[in-house]
């Protein structure tokens, strides 16, 4: 049951990321096998939590700066490509969109999550996957150009205390 849900959730995240980047932001992002490093360079990482009384879903979106720079350049011009503030705005907007879809999906599965606002994570932890004890972490990565470099890594981990144990769902 959970495995089937994970597959559907993975598909939802993949299609939402593609619609956001390719349909809305005019980029070319495609799902790719998970690998290390998650994204090249110093990642811009947006974190978002879904919360309810006895459960929490943590979402982490790590973006390659080159993907964000290219997106910023497409909308604001060449001089804006390296503007960190614009890059973080794009990262949070994507996190918000994908998080909204995940929230709706999980609430249809019986949760009652409310979504917080995305925040940018900085420092050593940024760019690292969510680490929760010995649980496996399923990862979803996206390539963004002909080089095949990782453009985006999405982690999603659900801590469901309703059933008494945490459960890794998707990354």
């Amino acid at each position: 049951m959970t495995a089937a849900r994970d597959v559907r959730l993975s598909g939802l995240v993949a299609s939402t990321v593609a619609a956001a980047f390719n349909g809305m932001l005019r980029q070319d992002v495609t799902p790719m096998p998970a690998r290390e490093p998650r994204v090249p360079g110093a990642a811009v990482t947006a974190c978002l939590d879904l919360n309810q009384a006895e459960a929490r879903a943590r979402l982490r979106f790590s973006f390659a700066p080159r993907l964000l720079a290219r997106t910023a350049e497409g909308f604001y011009g060449h001089d804006s490509a390296g503007n960190r503030e614009l890059q973080e705005d794009i990262a949070c907007a994507i996190a918000n969109i994908v998080g909204g879809r995940i929230k709706t999906f999980l609430n249809r599965e019986g949760f009652d999550f409310a979504m917080g606002l995305p925040v940018i994570e900085t420092g050593v932890a940024a760019g690292q996957p969510i680490q929760v004890g010995n649980e496996g972490l399923i990862r979803l990565h996206f390539a963004f150009d002909a080089s095949g470099d990782n453009g985006l890594a999405v982690d999603c981990q659900i801590d469901d205390r309703r059933t008494g144990r945490p459960e890794a769902v998707l990354s």
Partner: protein
């Protein structure tokens, strides 16, 4: 029905993310809109709406501070704003939210991510709504 041109309509876009404001503005310009203002939150939207009468307001449901949904509800209680179209643009993809927004007076509902074709389809329907409102408001209309 009165013909309504995009170039004659004033649009206000309210979203806390610059990239989303930019996406909506570019989509609107692509449709022929020329009178477009963008603001980041509820308070700035209120100030803009005091200064100018808009035909379409695109509002993000969730904003920092007071929500876009609250803003729409407040204006919908004023008869003076009956002919202004409010379009909720949101990450809230739950059908319950959509129904709630429409019951509260939203003219339309656009889910993020905003893609050009879906956006244009929705906005054209909103323009039809505006045209019908204007026709109905004419003497004998």
């Amino acid at each position: 029905m009165a013909a309504v041109k995009c170039a004659d309509l004033a649009a206000l876009v309210i979203d806390d993310h610059l990239i989303i404001r930019q996406v909506l503005e570019q989509n609107l310009r692509g449709m022929g809109f020329t009178n477009i203002d963008t603001v980041v939150d509820y308070q700035s939207a209120q100030e803009k709406m005091k200064q100018r009468r808009y035909d379409i307001v695109f509002v993000d449901w969730i904003l920092p501070g007071k929500s876009g949904y609250s803003l729409m509800q407040e204006y919908r209680q004023e008869r003076d704003y009956d002919d202004i179209a409010f379009v909720m643009v949101t990450t809230e993809t739950d059908e319950r939210h959509m129904i709630e927004a429409l019951k509260a007076g939203a003219t339309s509902y656009i889910m993020k991510p905003v893609t050009p074709n879906a956006f244009q389809d929705k906005v054209l329907k909103v323009i039809d709504w505006i045209a019908k409102k204007r026709t109905a408001a004419r003497p004998g209309g």
